[in-house]
């Protein structure tokens, strides 16, 4: 057993272990998701996160040593965002045709997303800091954290809201759209990306390539609009 402990001490200090754990956990989660026919509740992000978090707790690993390995995966979010231009260009004819519905839905969705979050938070008597963190929740993390700083909120708490919004949205979007009997995949994807940014976009790409493309557009556009609207709307809502 002494040898095992030595080995663990050595491995847990190197980025290789946590990089591998993250990748393998995701591959297993993705296989489960595929086996469940991409059922919304079998969300691969949620399953991987829960599994890795349990491993970290059991092995008493601090987040910084986990992130030392996982950062290589986290880093790829940048080039992946740039890569969204490729499906956007590929579906340019559809995007052009849908321009008017897209812009109107963008404004409606963004305003409702911000005002409903702030008003509900006020109604439930949440603290000011929590309310401020909820306002930009649908923007992609980098933008939402920037907005949080601007409105004197807490960027770390805002990041938590952003990820919670992403995962819950990715889970509820499919059953909700089926309930509403919406079969327009451009509309469904656009809503997923607008509300649940990158995680919603990942979900949309799982369901349908056209939905994924419109989700990517919504993610970009709503990031910009949220950064503009939150500081403008807050004085009226608070």
């Amino acid at each position: 057993m002494i040898n095992f402990v030595d080995l663990w001490v050595y491995l847990s200090g190197s980025p290789l272990l946590w990089l591998t754990v993250t990748l393998v956990a995701y591959i297993v989660a993705d296989a489960i998701s595929a086996a469940c026919g991409r059922h919304p509740l079998a969300n691969p992000v949620m399953m991987s996160v829960v599994f890795i978090s349990c491993v970290l707790v059991i092995s008493k690993t601090a987040f910084p040593s986990y992130f030392a390995g996982a950062q290589f995966i986290h880093f790829l979010l940048g080039p992946a965002t740039v890569a969204l231009a490729v499906p956007l260009y590929r579906h340019l004819p559809e995007v052009r045709r849908m321009f008017v519905p897209m812009i109107v839905a963008l404004i409606v969705g963004s305003v409702i997303s911000i005002t409903s979050a702030v008003l509900l938070a006020k109604w439930l008597g949440l603290s000011k800091l929590a309310t401020l963190a909820l306002a930009p929740k649908s923007a992609t993390a980098a933008i939402a954290m920037g907005v949080a700083e601007k409105i004197q909120g807490d960027p770390a708490l805002t990041a938590v809201m952003v990820i919670m919004t992403g995962i819950s949205g990715a889970i509820i979007v499919t059953p909700l759209m089926n309930m509403l009997r919406l079969k327009n995949y451009a509309a469904r994807g656009f809503a997923a990306g607008l509300v649940s940014h990158g995680i919603g976009t990942a979900r949309a790409f799982q369901v349908n390539p056209l939905a994924g493309t419109f989700a990517g557009i919504a993610l970009g556009l709503n990031g910009v609009l949220t950064a503009i609207l939150v500081p403008l709307l807050l004085p009226w809502l608070l």
Binding site: N43, S53, F67, A80, L84, A85, S138, I143, M164, V195
Partner: protein, 124 residues
């Protein structure tokens, strides 16, 4: 793959540089997205495998959110007693905005007769 990846990184780098230079509120990768899109529209030369590389990365977009998701779990104690109320606000707010966005989009598309009902691959 290598060349296409270099293109993605170069455009992200250009995006980051522009953000710092102009002080834009947008993150660098979003500017990089706009630059690559402009590049494609202008039909400028790109490595052959750019499409395949982009599709490959986007196919596993979910994976890239795992480290941030684990970070969030670590921050959960930050929520304290407000946790459940926060989750309730998020769930109601996203249900409202998902429905409003998709209904507006689909209704306008139908009104303007540009709706494309259930294209390739029926969804779940």
């Amino acid at each position: 793959m290598l060349h296409a990846f270099a293109v993605l990184l170069c455009l992200q780098l250009a995006g980051e540089a522009l953000v710092r230079a102009v002080g834009s509120p947008l993150p660098g990768p979003v500017i990089g997205l706009a630059l690559l899109f402009a590049w494609l529209v202008a039909k400028l030369p790109l490595p052959q495998e750019t499409n395949a590389t982009a599709d490959g990365i986007l196919k596993h977009l979910s994976l890239l959110f795992v480290p941030a998701g684990v970070g969030v779990v670590q921050q959960l104690p930050l929520l304290g007693a407000e946790g459940w109320k926060l989750l309730a606000v998020i769930l109601v707010s996203i249900a409202l905005s998902l429905a409003a966005t998709a209904i507006t989009f689909a209704a306008l598309a139908r009104l303007m007769k540009i709706g494309n009902e259930a294209p390739e691959g029926a969804g779940r």
